[in-house]
Symmetry: C2
Amino acid sequence: MAEPGAVAGVERHGRPRDPENDAAILNAALDLLIERGAAGTSIEAVAQRAGVAKLTVYRRWRSKEDLLMAALEHARNPDMDEAPAGRTIDELVTSTAELLSRPRFRALIARVIGASVDYPKLVTAYTERYLRPRLDALAEIARQAIDAGHFPPHTDPGVIHDILAGSIGSVLLQHEQDVTAAQVESRLQALLRHIGYRP
Amino acid sequence: MAEPGAVAGVERHGRPRDPENDAAILNAALDLLIERGAAGTSIEAVAQRAGVAKLTVYRRWRSKEDLLMAALEHARNPDMDEAPAGRTIDELVTSTAELLSRPRFRALIARVIGASVDYPKLVTAYTERYLRPRLDALAEIARQAIDAGHFPPHTDPGVIHDILAGSIGSVLLQHEQDVTAAQVESRLQALLRHIGYRP
């Protein structure tokens, strides 16, 4: 299936694969998941959007759920990758608020949660591959901030984690309204001040 | 359309209506929303599940979104109505944790959030009619607890609100795993202790 000139790798099952095709398929799958949701996305529609034959998709992924999971794992675009980053709690709050105010990010999270009833592995894949590494990094930043005296000494880093993870829920339940980064940031800061955050 | 013997009311548009039909239709719509999501639910399927003619549904509700909104507003069944209740913060935490551990409630919230991209009015209806009255009651309980000295004097009741609203998000992002009421309760209590809750 590799096009002339394409860099062909070797697939798990021994088939030649075309990395450009793979990327096009996974990007198309992510776009369709956001636009139509998991139930409204078909392998056929993904193939069409990616400009490849349906069989090319089926050769790589056995089911729609596998394909959507791969799309979530693969995603290295601004909607997915610019997740909460930063080296201090304040930077983390700012980047989390910015991320949560993006319509496309909110749509993606809403789609993943909405699909969780039918495709429970999707939300697990998303949580494990995407959220958990970032929340683990957050817990480490929280521990450093506690050590540095920015929180009361007996603060549980898990509580700081729960506050930031919980902010996703509050924002998703205001979907129709515009939520600005400044609003989310001010609410997160209020929560942190209440648990004794003094930077 | 009223069956003989049915208590006929008067519809907004002047048509006679059958309250038993209405209840059957709204219950069927809620069940299908939970089972299949908004995108997977059709007025035809609702009519079939409720055992009424499709026209009977269309006479009352102009669109699927209107019907699903009415179903959310109408819902007075254990999945919807036994929302956070209780007269103290502790009772409220216990009932919230119990509610969040119910698979059917979690499925409903996931479906509503998942539908928010296509049907933004749905999540607004759910929030306004269902969540907001309960969160307002919570804010009042929080104010009483602050006045009673169970929180530090300058505690913002909005922060207590955000903690409980945020717990929904954390729980939804663990959909595949079983979440017990005891786990949710212990995390909520940890958050509240960190903001100085001393009952």
